[in-house]
Symmetry: C2
Subunit: 332 residues, 2 copies
DNA sequence: ACAGTTCTTGCAACCGATTGCAGGGTGGGT
DNA sequence: ACCCACCCTGCAATCGGTTGCAAGAACTGT
C-alpha cells in the first residue's frame, strides 16, 4: 500500500533504524548515509506514519479543538487562527462542535483526549469539576474561561464592558439593558460583572434580563424585553444577539440609534455590514486562537506541568469600535 | 499512563486477545466472559487506542476536511453538518483551511491523506490532474466540484442562477452584472454558465466583470465596476460579495434596490440581517456537509471503488429567497 | 603494528492493538 | 465409556515506527 520505513531501508541499503534516525536524530548519522537515506525516501515519496510513531513516542502530533457552535462567526475566527498556527507547529487539528451542550462537550473531550496531545476548549460549557479532572491527565488550554491553574487564553471582557459603559455614559444614557447569555459562559459572567462595576461607578443602572441563546434568534427575543424594560440602550451578550435586537427593533419601527442604542461584543464581520453598522467591543479572535495553540504546545513539551506561575496570561486587549448604532438618547 | 488492553485483560483474568474480541467480534465470546471483560473495562475507564488499532486494520477512523476559507460563513455551515454526521458515524474530523491557496491546499491534502481514511474537499481550488492522482489512492469526496468519476456532492448552482435571472427578468431588468469569483472555482463556472444560459433565453444581457476575491472586500471593489457598467442589477458570486457591493453602493449613496438590485448566492445568516435584507439563492450547506460524509463513508467501506455509476449525485436543490434587495428598475 | 577511543550502524524489544491458527474444554451421539 | 464436533480462548505474529544496547568500523596516539 503505502511506502514504509522498510521500503526506504531496503532502497538505501540500511536498516530501518537508520532510516528512523535520519529523521529523528540526523546528527548521529554519517552525512553521506543520511543523504543516501533521505534521497531514497524522497524518491519513494516516503512520509513517516504519525500513528505508528505516536504509539512509541506517546506523542500523536494532533491537537483537539472544541467549540460550542460553529454558526457563531466568533468561533470560526478563533479556529482559523488556531488551525494556521497548529500547521506551522506541525500539528494537525481535530475539530468538534459541542452544540452548546454540556454533556456532549464533556463526552467529546474525553473521546478526543485519547487521540491527541492536548485540547483547546473554546468558551467551554463543561463543569469546573469535570475540567479539573480531565486537566489532570490531558494538557488542556481554555479559551475564554478560567479555572484554577489550568492554562487559559483570556480576552479582556471586563475592559471591553468598561469601555462600552463609558461610551454610553458619555452619550448621556442612564438606564441600560443587558440580556444575559448562557449562564455557564465565563464571557457572560465577566461581561456582566464588568458592566455592573463600571455602571455603579458612573451612576448608571444596568437592567439584567433573563438568559437568552447567544444567537440571532436569542436577540429577537431579547429585543422585546429590552423595550419593555424602558431603557435607552442595550449592551448585548454578543454581536449575534445585538444584531437580533436591532432586527427586531427595526421590525417594530423602533429606531436604532434614535430610540435605542445597541452595543455588541466580538466585532464579527457582519457587525460592520449591518445597518446601522454596530458599535461593538472587538476581540482579537484569530490572535487568541493562535496564542492558545502556542500555550498548548509549550504545555505539551514541558513534561512537568511546571507549577510555577505563567499559567494565567494577561487578558488580550479588547477595543470598543464605535459605529452608528449608538447615539445620545432621545430627550423626553 | 493510559489504561491499555493488557490492564483490562489482567483485571478480567483473560488474554488481551479476548478483550479485543469483546469489542470487535462480541458474538464469538461466551456471554459471561464478554460481560466480565466489559465490566472490567468500564471500571478501569478503558477506551481502545485508535492509532494502534488503525495500524493493523488500516483504518484510522479519521476523516479530513479541507475548506478554502473559514471566514466565509458558507464553510463553517458545511463543516457543522459534516462534523455532526461524522460523529454519528464514529469518525473524528481533521480540519484544515487552505487560505484559498492552491499550492497550500495540495500540500494539505497530501499531508492529511496519510492520516485519514478519506478526505472531503470543499470547493477545492486544486488542479484536476492533482486531484485525479490523489483520488487513485485516497478516498476523496468533492463538495461543489466535479472531476471525472470522483464522487461529489453538488449544489444546484445552475438552477439557482436560473431562478435568479428569471426573478430579475420578471422585475423588468435587462442588463445585469456578474462579478466573477475565483476562476478555479467550480461554483463560479456553473453559476456564470447558468446565468448566461438563462439570460440568453430571456433576452437579458449579462455583463461579466473581472474576477474578485470571494469576500466582502471583493464586493467593495466589484460595486464600482458594476456602477460603471451601467446595469440595473447585480448577481454577485456569493453573499459576501453581494454584501460588499451593497455596502459600497450605500457609501456612494446609490440606493438598493431603488437604483440597483442585488442578488447573492448561499444565504449565509447575515444575508437576512443586512439592510435591505438580501435576495439570494439558498444552499443547503449543512445537508451538503452531512451528505459528503455519508458518501465518503460508503466509499471507504466499499473497498473496490465500484466502477458502476452512482458516483455523481443529483445536485442538491437550491431555492431563491426573495428579500428586499431586489425591485423593478427605475424608469429612465 | 597495536591497544584504546569514538563513531556508526544493526539487532531486537517494544508501543497497543488485531487476527490466523491451534489446543483445551464441553457436549452430543452411540 | 468413547469419539468427534464445535465452541472458546490463548499464543504468537504483525502493523510501522523508535530506541537501548552492543558489535564492528574508523580513528587516535605511541
Amino acid at each position: 500500500m503505502s511506502v514504509t520505513i522498510h521500503d526506504v531501508a531496503k532502497a538505501a541499503k540500511v536498516s530501518p533504524s537508520t532510516v528512523s534516525r535520519a529523521y529523528t536524530m540526523p546528527e548521529l548519522l554519517r552525512p553521506d548515509t543520511r543523504e543516501r537515506v533521505l534521497t531514497a525516501a524522497r524518491k519513494l515519496g516516503y512520509q513517516p506514519n504519525k500513528a505508528a510513531r505516536g504509539l512509541i513516542t506517546g506523542r500523536t502530533g494532533n491537537i483537539g479543538l472544541i467549540v460550542p457552535d460553529l454558526s457563531n462567526p466568533f468561533f470560526p475566527a478563533v479556529l482559523k487562527g488556531a488551525q494556521a498556527r497548529a500547521r506551522e507547529a506541525d500539528y494537525a487539528v481535530f475539530l468538534a462542535d459541542s452544540e452548546e451542550d454540556q454533556a456532549l462537550e464533556e463526552e467529546l473531550i474525553r473521546a478526543m483526549a485519547k487521540q491527541v496531545d492536548g485540547v483547546v476548549l473554546c468558551s467551554s460549557r463543561a463543569s469546573d469539576a469535570t475540567l479539573s479532572a480531565i486537566a489532570k491527565d490531558t494538557p488542556l488550554v481554555l479559551l475564554n474561561r478560567r479555572i484554577g491553574a489550568i492554562p487559559a487564553v483570556l480576552l479582556d471582557n471586563t475592559g471591553g464592558a468598561r469601555q462600552a459603559v463609558e461610551h454610553l455614559a458619555a452619550l448621556g444614557h442612564r438606564r441600560v439593558a443587558y440580556p444575559n447569555g448562557p449562564p455557564s459562559s465565563w464571557s457572560n459572567r465577566t461581561r456582566r460583572r464588568g458592566l455592573k462595576a463600571r455602571a455603579a461607578a458612573l451612576g448608571l443602572e444596568i437592567v439584567e434580563l433573563g438568559t437568552f441563546a447567544p444567537t440571532f434568534e436569542g436577540g429577537l427575543a431579547a429585543a422585546d424585553q429590552c423595550v419593555a424594560a424602558d431603557v435607552t440602550a442595550v449592551v448585548a451578550y454578543n454581536d449575534l444577539v445585538a444584531l437580533g435586537v436591532q432586527s427586531r427593533l427595526r421590525d417594530r419601527s423602533i429606531k436604532v440609534p434614535g430610540d435605542i442604542s445597541v452595543v455588541g461584543f466580538d466585532d464579527i464581520p457582519m457587525a460592520q455590514m449591518g445597518s446601522p453598522p454596530l458599535t461593538t467591543v472587538a476581540m482579537p479572535c484569530e490572535r487568541a486562537g493562535r496564542l492558545a495553540i502556542d500555550v498548548l504546545a509549550r504545555r505539551i513539551s514541558a513534561q512537568p506541568p511546571r507549577n510555577n506561575g505563567g499559567n494565567a496570561h494577561e487578558p488580550l486587549v479588547t477595543t470598543l469600535i464605535v459605529r452608528a448604532s449608538t447615539a445620545p438618547p432621545r430627550r423626553r
